[in-house]
Every structure is written in structure tokens, then in C-alpha cells.
């Protein structure tokens, strides 16, 4: 028996949420004026800063593609972001893997053909990690890209979900899928990260590293996609609020 009870029989999770509650989201745009676009994004205690450089002249020959722009992601974890203080090297395998999946995902959302022969550099700094790090990175990047004025087909939003069935001691049918997992849940349950393009059901990223029953996968996916829809609303509100503030400022300057 584990030390924690991740989902109580009364349906409450370890941090007091219910199965379909997102954690508190806090998002800001244009946090770093020195860059072309930037954002700060919190999902619960997972905190990410994103800055964009570009689109600009590619940094190297290999980054020059004749009919579209190239995307480079640079991800780093702050040494104080986790439970233990530790530094991760550049070549850390998991970091490289995440960079690649971010690059591939955003290649589907950015209208790359409009920006041929240029490069966009996305830098992500993870300040604090408490589960769903990849999802937070995707959401932060979307905001920063909008701030940088890079053409996107729609909001690219991401969310995680977990399955409590292999953990729960009760009947399988009673086990609920859990939305937006924190690090305790992520460690003990099979979890997936799903990213969709806007409010459509178009899934552009699906990442899962555990084995899980096919039936459970369906449930998890459905919950995750619902979460993405909510996430899109939150990002949209943030963008509109930011836009409004910008307009007001401009008005005042006039």
C-alpha cells in the first residue's frame, strides 16, 4: 500500500481536487520585453517561462529550409525546480526528447510556409515542476508565440490525464480518469499528455510512457481533450485581456 491515497473512495484527490478539476492556471504575456515574444505560465505548482527569438535569420546553414521556417526548442530546468536541488546537463536524454516532441508539435501549429528560410527559437525555462511539465511548456509556448506575432492556425493547447484504475482498490468500474495530474499522481499512475489544435478534437500530440488497458485509454483521452478545451478558453481569455491592455496603453499614449 502506498503512503498516500491518491484518490479517496469519496472521490477526492490528494490535493483536494475532484477527478475533472484543473489546477489553478495563472498566465501572463509579454513578460520579457527584450525578446520577440514571451510568457509566464503556471499550472498549479508547475511554473514555466517561455521566450521567443525570431523569426529571423537561421543561426546555421542546417537550419535553413527553402520552403518553410525551422523551429528550435531549447529547454532547461532550473536547478531548484524539483524536490532535490540538481543541475541537468544539456545533453540530458529526457530533455532532448522533450525538445524534439515540442519542435514536431509546433511545426503543425505554426504556419511555417509563410516564414520560409527563417528560424524560430523557443526557449523554455522550467522554474518549478509538479507534474504535467510538457503540457505547461506547450501552453506557455503558444502564448509566447502569439505575443511574438507568429502566425498560428489556432491555439495549441495541452493537458494531462491519468487513470486511477490500476491503483484504486475498488471496483474497476468506479475508477475515474483524473484530469491534470500533479507529480505525486504522475509518479504512481499511468498518465498521458494530449495536445489539441484549438477547440477541435484534432490531436497533434499524444504521449504516454506507461502500459494501460485500451478501454482506459479511451476514457483518459476523452477527459484530456475536454481539459484541452477548457485550457483553450483560459488561454483565449488571457490573450484577449492582454490585447485589451495593450490597446488601452496605446490609447493613453496618443
Amino acid at each position: 500500500m502506498s503512503r498516500y491515497e491518491l484518490l479517496s473512495p469519496e472521490g477526492l484527490r490528494i490535493d483536494g481536487r475532484r477527478w475533472n478539476d484543473l489546477r489553478r492556471v495563472f498566465a501572463q504575456m509579454a513578460t520579457q520585453p527584450s525578446s520577440n515574444g514571451s510568457s509566464y505560465f503556471e499550472m498549479g505548482n508547475t511554473k514555466v517561462i517561455c521566450t521567443i527569438q525570431g523569426p529571423g535569420e537561421p543561426t546555421s546553414r542546417s537550419k535553413t529550409i527553402h520552403d518553410r521556417c525551422s523551429i528550435s526548442v531549447d529547454l532547461n530546468y532550473a536547478p531548484f525546480s524539483g524536490i532535490d536541488r540538481k543541475r541537468r546537463g544539456r545533453g540530458d536524454k529526457r530533455t532532448v526528447e522533450m525538445q524534439t516532441s515540442l519542435e514536431n508539435t509546433f511545426a503543425q501549429a505554426i504556419r511555417t510556409t509563410l516564414l520560409a528560410r527563417s528560424e524560430i527559437i523557443i526557449s523554455l525555462h522550467i522554474l518549478s515542476q509538479d507534474g504535467s511539465v510538457l503540457a505547461a511548456c506547450i501552453n506557455a509556448t503558444t502564448l509566447a508565440l502569439i505575443d511574438a506575432g507568429i502566425p498560428l492556425t489556432d491555439y495549441l493547447v495541452a493537458c494531462t490525464s491519468g487513470s486511477s484504475s490500476s491503483y484504486s482498490t475498488q471496483n474497476d468500474e468506479d475508477a475515474d480518469p483524473l484530469l491534470d495530474v500533479n507529480s505525486l499522481e504522475e509518479n504512481d499512475l499511468p498518465c498521458l499528455t494530449v495536445a489539441t489544435l484549438g477547440a477541435t478534437d484534432k490531436v497533434v500530440l499524444l504521449l504516454m510512457e506507461n502500459k494501460v488497458n485500451v478501454e482506459k485509454l479511451e476514457e483518459m483521452l476523452a477527459v484530456g481533450i475536454d481539459g484541452c478545451k477548457t485550457m483553450r478558453r483560459i488561454l483565449d481569455t488571457t490573450v484577449r485581456k492582454h490585447g485589451k491592455e495593450l490597446l488601452e496603453k496605446r490609447e493613453q499614449l496618443r
Binding site: 479517496s8 473512495p9 477526492l12 489553478r24 505548482n45 487513470s163 491503483y167 468506479d174 475515474d176 488497458n213
Partner: protein
């Protein structure tokens, strides 16, 4: 380890309804590193009060993923008692659950109870078993226990104040919840005419009660509360004795345990050692602790050194200086005999070791002193701390001599003598002493203070009259923790709707997908007579290429028992079917076990088949696994099968196929034995019972025929073949079974005994060597001698265990007894849960069905293994205890003279094994004559010389003796036991 905590509450951005966020930051430093843990807490307002009276909460009750709302639990018309005549909901604090669980579980009272999250978590941290019992109370529909998550509800959440202890904070949280509940009920019932239920807090903490009174919360302590109920006596008996105030002035008999920090540093420095404590079965003043740092168990002698450790506890010990090292005890010391004059009432001049106990110890010391052989000395130790108590419920009876007659219904202390003789007497307080005399009762131990010679406990319930079949059967089921209650409705709901009418469907049904039709094969089953849960059936047929197809067909239990449903969970927790002499406690409901799954003859059944192609020399060419349907042509008993094979007139296909199987099985067995498999013996006896009354009438030793080993060989082969396959498919989570090689030191004593007494050499470097040398331990004049040695060798070995493949490296998988590299249980899914898992894994491995989650979670599988290992062992013990009881009953009123063998010598007695009944019994020197004759024990030659006045004589190890076997009842303690007497 220090823990620094900071917490703050921040308002969420959206105002209405959204949960508040509070996050806690823990800074922990341990092992020279600093770690930071941030935990968020979402405070919400949609946690219902769950009172059926409340409108407000029904309105915004949350739903789960299927859109269902959890039903409200607390009754509209809760009961009152004399103290609080208004109907009320109870809110107990943590200590009430820790000390009074037996009373809370009682049917007569304690309904409509609110369990606060704060309290539930504290219970969980303090005792997992109690937590599980509390959880099952909250699941029970009629008790109406509701878990209220007060730490997640905005209004009842509190943060710890500066300088406040955790306990004080938790007490305050309980009071806060009480206040909120009361106000909430009043406000939600405002305007209606209904009576508002009171909220009553129950606590035994004086300070908490005082503060509650100040804050206007209705409250009282548990005794006052119970005294206001209908049947206070019965409930008061069930309250843990640790709520009694102990007299601080009383002198301490036992040394204080070391402090936690002293133990931790001691263990780290290697000065202290940790391990499970067990009491010697022959000497209650001696125990042993198995630790990882010594290859032999450490001996602990005397009450003072045992220092309140009870059988099964995990203890910390300190090794005594070498001058105090001893020989392992060779004396029989029985608690009943030595402590018969003890007074159960506390406070009188108690001594930790009475005069007679001290004499027993002195005798021991003298022996050590005289002994010349330094090497035989064993390190001794004393208990200095307890890591974990493994106290459970104990079954026993009240020592009649401890009951003061004529005390009526006033409370008195009495002793309970546990059935398990390794458990010390337990002091319990009861008001019903006289009515409990002569009853089998269940008690638990609550505490063992250093001021008390005996542990104190409390009465839980009575099972019925001593020696009545019902009470004794229930007692032994309880002793071995066998779940024997009827299956709940939720389990029965999982059975197929067709009931006994279930049939193998037509071929066009989807159930035939991936399933082979083997209904035309000549399949038959061979089992013990009267067997109704038939797990396995066999066939063999020649193939055109001169080879043979051999098939083992196993009941397709996993077709009916789907992972994760109520039936599966029940089976997983039962773990195994338990066979008693006259009763079977099933793992699966009867409908499946004896009908739908059972491979009965003449009907079509689903099966899981292993099919081999074998050469006529029984070499395996290939193996195939498939789900199938079969129709068994006959169900034989071992004897019937043997007769049919032996009768040369039978030349039909079925008999031919059985002969092939028998022939192959002999070849397989030979190959297995050559590889070093052990042929071990355990005394198996069969009790004949009168078919009408099921009273035992006779006992006989079980007979083994060739057909027994026919079935066994093919089952072993199937198990090994399946084990390989599922390990390939699930390298981390395959359900396997291993049997560790016993350390050579385990055999030292037996080796030396054989060398000295019989000039025989027992070699133990491998299972092969052991098997071969066991074959040479033969006394031509005494055929039973070899069996005796095998029984004794078996006791030196480790027990086999289930494990998930990832838990060990491949070389550790080895099954020592079967001399197989890898092994699992596949062939008895009706009666063993491990086999059900193996079936599911095999089905997934051959891609018959998708892998279920539970098969992939290593931690979950390890949990399953742990449970079934315990259940399996307990089932064996329960079965043996049942045989023992029936042998006893069969012997009641008879005195028979039997042959026996001396299997152990002690300085004041010896143990005799009676093969006919499979029992062993003690003969004390004091039983031989009155007054007790002197005896000298020569422990290098294993000879006990008894200086009988009339005619001195000697008893040596392995001697054949004649004894009378008789069932007697000890007048004083009311214990019935088998008594052996030496015939001279």
C-alpha cells in the same frame, strides 16, 4: 529529520465557487541533503455534509465520471441515548477509533458517525489494520459511517498556529468541524419543522473536552457515552484496556525500551539488530530472533530479556556479552505449569520472574556451564525495542482458575489462555466472566505496560461453547485468518445470469473467437475420491508421425472471473480455497467452483489447454497454449484409474491413452529426480467421518498410488512450461513461484544427529546431493525411518513463495524442491488465485485477449503476491489444525497403543512422532513417574538417561518406542490435548 512548514492561503482569481488554493511548503533535511516539497491544497465548498436532511448539499453535490452522485448517508432520524436524548450524529476523535474499534463495529450501537479526514489520516498513520477496518465500516451500508473531508472544505480547513503541536492542531480541526456541522445543519433546516440533529464529539482527551465545552460543542468521553446506551456492559468490555489509567506508582518489571534515536543509530552502527521474534514451541521463556547479521537465530531467554515481545513482533535486540551465551534450550517449560498461581488482578506484589521460572532458568545456566563444547554456544540477546507489533485477534478461553466466583456482574480481571501456545496469557477485564467460562472467545491485545507481567487486552466476541464443532471450526478459521463469511451479494452479482443452465455456446458465438474445439478428444480427469472442483483433465493420443500429443486442460476460470470486478477482488483477498476435514471454504462461489468451471465428465466446458508434442521417450518436441472447449469422458478417482490401467483386459482408447500418460509420467519423474528434485514427506492422514453426522470415526494414513504421481508430473510440466511463456511476455510482472535454497546451517543439527546415531551422512550442498543422500538414509529394519528423516529434513527448509518476476534476478527464480529453473502455479485456478493471474497473463501472452492494467503494475502484483503467500501458508496451517482437531475427536474416549519414533530430545522430556496419526507429542520426565525422576541429557550422543528408581533406562534419538495415545482434558485450564505415555 526535521521538517519546516510554511503555509499560506491565496485567493483564487475567479471568485465564485472556484476552490481556494492553499499551498504548503515542506523543507526537509535528511542525510545531509535539503529537499523541498510543495503540496497544493484546493479548498472547496462542494463537499457535502451527507445528511439526508440537508437540502443545500443535495443541490450542489458533485458527480463522478459517469455522472453519478454519491448517495447521502447520515440518517434523517438518528438515534439518541440517555446522555444526549436528542437524535445526534457522532464525531469521534482519533483515539476513539484507535481504542474502541471493536465497540464501534458492534451491531447494537454507533450509527450515523462522521469520520473526519483529519482523524482518518491519523488512524492511517498510526495503524494500517485499524484504518482498513474503519474503511470497511464506511463502506458498510447499515452502519452509516460518513467520511467528511474537513481539510478540503473551505470553512473547516485550519492552518497550524505558531508553536502549536500537530496534535493540538488536529484537535482544533475536529472541534472546528463540529462547530461547522452544527451551524450548517441549523441553517439548512431553518424554516422546516424537522428536528435538527445534535453533533456530539466523543473524545477521551480531557483538554480537548474542556475546550469543546468552552466552545459550546456537545461532547463527552467514550465511557460516559456508552453508559448512556442500552447494553453498556457488553460494549464496555470491547473497549481497549489502554484507556484505563495506569498506576504511575506501580513498579516496573520490564526495562524501558530504547528511544527511537538510540535505536536508529544503534541499528546503523551495527550494535543493535532487527528481526521477527518467535517464541519457542517447547519453552515459553525462550524466544529467537532471526536477523540479517547472524546466520543463526539469536536466542532470547527469560522474561526480562524477552521484554514484552510477542510472537510475530518485529523487534530490535542487543547481543549479550559472550559470557552469557547459551546452548539453545533443551528443556520443556510450559507456561500453564509455571504460572498457574498468578493473580490476574494488577497491583499485587508481582514479580517479573516467579520462583519457579527462575529455577527453570538456573537449570538452563547449569547445563551451559557443564557443557564443554564451546562451539555449540549460541549468541543470546535481549529485546530493547519494538519496531512493529504484529498483534492480531487471538482465540482462546478463559482460565477458569483466574475467575473469582460469585462476583456477579462487577468487573474483574481474568486470564485468557490462547489456543496458540506461543502467545502469553492475556489479562482482560470483563463484567461477564462467569458467562464466558467454557466458551471459545476472541480477544485482542491492547498494550503491554512495563509495569505488568502480562499483556492486557479486551474481549471482542464469543464463538460458542468449547469443543463444540461449530465454535472450534470458527476458532481455527479465525486463528488462521481465513475469510469464511458467505459471499456478499456484489460478488454473486458477477456470476453468469444463466446460473447452472450455462452451456458452451454454439460455434457462431463470439466467445469461440480464438478458442479451439477439442470436444472430440478422449479427455479424462483423475482426482481424489469425492472431488467436485475438478481443475484439470488430461489426454494423450498418437500422432501420425509416431509422436504423441499430450494435453493438460485446466478449468477456464479467467473466462468467468474478470479482472477488477467484485468477485475478482474477493478471490484475490481470499487467495486460496481452504480445505478442512469436513468443510471447504471456497475462493470462488460454488456455482463456478463445482459446476461451470469444474471439468466435470459428460458435459462441455471451457478450458485453457497446454498441448505438447512428445516423442515416445517423453521428450518434448513443441508446446502450444490455447483456450479451448472440452468434454471430459470420465472422472476417475486415483484408485479407479489405477485399477483400469492395471486390468489388461481393458484395451479401449481411453485406457490406452491413460497408459501412455502413466508411462510418460514415469519418464518425466525419473528425469526430474535425476536433476535433483526432492521427494519430501509430510505426515498426511485422512480422517474418516461418519457420512451423516460427520463425526470422525477413524484415522488412516493417506495412500499414494502411481496415478497420484501421473497427475502430479503433468501438472508440474504444465506449470513449468507456462512459467517460461509468461516470463517471456512479462519479464517484470509474471506471476512466478520460487523456493529458495536453504542455508547449510539449517541442516547442521540433523546432520550431526544422523552421524552420531546412525552413522549416516547427509549431504546438503545441492538439492541433488540432498535427494541422493536422503535415499541412502534407510534403516532396513525400519521402513518408516526414511520417511521420518524426510519429515525432519523438510522442516529445515525454507517455504516456497509467489513473487513478481521483477523482484528477483533470474538465478534466484529457482525452485529448490522441484529442481526447476522457473516455476509457477497454473493448474488449479479454481482454488488458487495465483493461477488465475497466471491464466490471464498466459491469455495475454498468446494474444487471446488484451493485457489488463492490473497485470502491468508491478507494485500491484507484489501486493497480490504478499497476500497470497500469507493466505497460502495460513490455509495449510488451518488444514493441519483441522486434522489435528478431528484426530483428537476420533481418539476421544479411546486409549490406543501405537508405535512412535523419538524425533527430539530435551533435558526433561522428549518428542515422539506417531506415524499412524501423523501427530507428535511431548513426553515429559514428570509424566514418567511421581516424583519426577532425575534425567541426564547427553547432547553429544543424543541420549537421555532417566534415573528411574526402579529401573533406570535410556531414550535415544530415532529410537522406536511404544506409546499409548489418549485424549485428555486438563481439569485446571480446560484445555483438551493429546497425551502420549511411554509404554515400558
Amino acid at each position: 529529520m526535521t521538517s519546516l512548514k510554511r503555509s499560506f492561503v491565496a485567493q483564487a482569481e475567479e471568485a465564485s465557487g472556484a476552490p481556494l488554493l492553499s499551498s504548503k511548503v515542506f523543507l526537509r533535511s535528511g542525510r545531509g541533503r535539503c529537499t523541498k516539497v510543495v503540496r497544493e491544497l484546493y479548498l472547496r465548498q462542494d463537499i457535502p455534509c451527507s445528511s439526508k436532511l440537508c437540502q443545500a448539499c443535495t443541490y450542489n453535490a458533485p458527480t463522478d465520471a459517469n455522472g453519478k452522485i454519491r448517495p447521502f448517508i447520515l440518517s434523517e432520524t438518528p438515534a439518541g441515548n440517555k446522555v444526549f436524548p436528542n437524535g445526534h450524529y457522532l464525531i469521534p476523535d482519533t483515539n476513539i477509533f484507535l481504542n474502541c474499534m471493536d465497540a464501534l463495529e458492534h451491531k447494537s450501537a454507533f450509527y450515523d458517525v462522521i469520520v473526519l479526514q483529519t482523524v482518518l489520516e491519523e488512524v492511517r498513520n498510526r495503524s494500517l489494520p485499524l484504518y482498513n477496518r474503519l474503511r470497511s465500516l464506511t463502506k458498510s451500508e447499515d452502519k452509516r459511517f460518513y467520511v467528511f473531508h474537513n481539510d478540503f472544505r473551505r470553512e473547516t480547513y485550519i492552518t497550524r498556529n505558531e508553536g502549536e503541536t500537530i496534535n493540538d492542531r488536529n484537535d482544533r480541526a475536529v472541534r472546528k468541524a463540529c462547530t461547522w456541522y452544527q451551524a450548517h445543519l441549523v441553517s439548512s433546516l431553518e424554516g422546516s419543522k424537522r428536528q435538527v440533529p445534535d453533533i456530539v464529539m466523543v473524545s477521551d482527551d480531557k483538554e480537548n473536552l474542556r475546550l469543546a465545552n468552552e466552545e459550546g460543542i456537545k461532547c463527552c468521553n467514550i465511557r460516559d457515552y456508552i453508559n448512556g446506551l442500552e447494553n453498556p456492559d457488553e460494549l464496555l468490555d470491547r473497549i481497549s484496556s489502554s484507556t484505563d489509567k495506569t498506576d504511575a506508582a506501580a513498579t516496573a518489571f520490564y526495562a524501558e525500551y530504547y528511544s527511537q534515536s538510540k535505536i536508529t543509530t544503534g541499528l546503523k552502527a551495527g550494535l543493535l539488530h532487527q528481526g521477527p521474534f518467535s517464541t519457542s514451541p517447547y519453552n515459553f521463556l525462550e524466544g529467537s530472533v532471526i536477523t540479517s547479521s547472524f546466520d543463526k537465530p539469536l536466542i532470547i531467554q527469560g522474561r526480562r530479556n524477552i521484554n514484552r515481545a510477542v510472537q510475530g513482533d518485529i523487534v530490535v535486540v542487543e547481543v549479550l556479552p559472550k559470557e552469557q551465551w547459551k546452548l539453545p534450550s533443551a528443556r520443556i517449560v510450559e507456561e500453564d505449569a509455571l504460572t498457574k498461581n498468578d493473580n490476574p488482578e494488577l497491583g499485587q506484589a508481582e514479580q517479573i520472574e516467579t520462583e519457579s521460572e527462575r529455577l527453570a532458568l538456573v537449570e538452563e545456566a547449569r547445563r551451559t556451564h557443564n557443557s564443554t563444547d564451546e562451539n555449540k554456544l549460541v549468541p543470546t540477546a535481549k529485546v530493547v525495542g519494538i519496531v512493529r507489533r504484529n498483534w492480531r485477534q487471538y482465540v482462546g478461553h478463559i482460565d477458569p482458575s483466574s475467575v473469582a466466583a460469585g462476583r456477579g456482574r462487577s468487573q474483574q480481571s481474568v486470564f485468557l489462555i490462547a489456543m496458540d501456545k506461543r502467545i502469553p496469557k492475556i489479562r482482560i477485564k470483563t463484567r461477564q466472566a462467569e458467562s464466558l467460562l467454557g466458551q471459545r472467545i476472541v480477544v485482542t491485545i491492547d498494550s503491554w505496560e512495563k509495569t505488568s507481567r502480562f499483556p492486557s487486552g479486551h474481549f471482542v466476541r464469543a464463538l460458542g461453547e468449547l469443543e463444540s464443532k461449530e465454535a472450534e471450526t470458527e476458532a481455527l478459521l479465525l486463528e488462521w485468518d481465513v475469510q469464511y463469511r458467505p459471499f456478499p451479494q456484489s460478488v454473486l452479482d458477477c456470476l453468469p445470469k444463466e446460473g447452472h443452465e450455462w452451456r458452451v455456446p454454439e460455434k457462431d458465438s463470439p466467445l469461440w473467437k480464438g478458442r479451439k474445439d477439442l470436444r472430440d478428444l478422449m479427455v479424462c480427469s483423475i482426482d481424489p475420491p469425492g472431488c467436485t472442483d475438478i481443475d484439470d483433465a488430461l489426454h494423450a493420443r498418437p500422432l501420425p508421425n509416431g509422436n504423441y500429443q499430450v494435453g493438460v486442460h485446466i478449468a477456464d476460470v479467467s473466462h468467468f472471473v474478470k479482472p477488477g470486478n467484485a468477485m475478482d477482488l474477493e478471490a484475490a483477498s481470499r487467495g486460496t480455497t481452504v480445505y478442512l476435514v469436513d468443510k471447504r471454504i471456497d475462493m470462488l462461489p460454488m456455482l463456478l467452483g463445482t459446476d461451470l468451471c469444474s471439468l466435470k465428465p459428460y458435459v462441455e466446458r471451457f478450458a485453457f489447454s497446454v498441448l505438447w508434442e512428445m516423442t515416445p521417450d517423453a521428450e518434448i518436441v513443441s508446446a502450444e497454449f490455447t483456450k479451448s472447449a472440452i468434454k471430459s469422458v470420465e472422472a476417475f478417482s486415483y484408485e479407479q484409474a489405477q485399477l483400469r490401467i492395471d486390468d489388461i483386459n481393458n484395451q479401449d482408447d481411453l485406457t490406452k491413452s491413460m497408459r501412455t500418460l502413466l508411462d510418460f509420467s514415469k519418464k518425466l519423474k525419473k528425469r526430474r529426480m535425476d536433476a535433483g528434485a526432492l521427494n519430501l514427506a509430510s505426515p498426511e492422514v485422512k480422517v474418516h467421518t461418519d457420512s451423516e453426522t460427520s463425526d470422525p470415526v477413524d484415522v488412516e494414513t493417506k495412500q499414494l498410488r502411481e496415478t497420484n504421481s501421473l497427475v502430479e508430473e503433468f501438472m508440474l510440466l504444465a506449470n513449468i512450461t507456462v512459467a517460461r511463456k509468461i516470463y517471456e511476455a512479462f519479464p517484470q510482472t509474471a506471476m512466478l513461484r520460487r523456493h529458495g535454497a536453504p542455508p547449510a546451517t539449517n541442516f547442521e543439527e540433523l546432520q550431526s544427529q544422523l552421524r552420531v546415531r546412525k552413522n549416516m551422512d547427509l549431504r546438503v550442498e545441492s538439492s541433488k546431493a540432498l535427494a541422493d543422500s536422503l535415499d541412502t538414509c534407510v534403516d532396513p529394519k525400519e521402513p518408516f525411518f526414511n520417511t521420518l528423516i524426510r519429515i525432519m529434513a523438510t522442516r529445515c527448509m525454507l517455504s516456497a513463495e509467489y513473487f513478481a518476476a521483477g523482484a528477483f534476478a533470474y538465478p534466484e527464480f529457482r525452485h529448490y524442491g522441484l529442481a526447476s529453473e522457473i516455476y509457477t502455479h497454473f493448474t488449479s485456478p479454481i482454488r488458487r488465485y495465483a493461477d488465475v493471474i497466471a491464466h490471464r497473463q498466459l491469455a495475454a501472452a498468446i494474444e487471446y485477449e488484451p493485457v489488463h492494467d492490473s497485470l502491468n503494475s508491478k507494485s500491484k502484483l507484489e501486493g497480490v503476491c504478499q497476500n497470497i503467500n500469507v493466505r497460502h501458508r495460513n490455509a495449510q496451517f488451518a488444514g493441519r489444525a483441522s486434522v489435528e482437531y478431528y484426530v483428537g475427536q476420533a481418539l476421544k474416549g479411546k486409549v490406543t497403543e501405537q508405535e512412535g519414533f523419538v524425533m527430539r530430545l530435551m533435558s526433561n522430556g522428549f518428542v515422539v512422532f506417531v506415524a499412524r496419526f501423523g501427530i507428535e507429542g511431548l513426553i515429559r520426565t514428570s509424566d514418567l513417574d511421581q516424583p519426577e525422576p532425575d534425567a541426564t541429557y547427553d547432547d553429544t550422543n543424543y541420549v537421555l538417561t532417566i534415573h528411574d528408581k526402579k529401573k533406570p533406562f535410556q531414550v535415544a534419538l530415532f529410537d522406536k518406542v511404544r506409546v499409548t495415545v489418549e485424549m485428555i482434558k486438563e481439569e485446571r485450564t480446560g484445555k483438551r490435548k493429546i497425551q502420549l505415555k511411554l509404554v515400558r
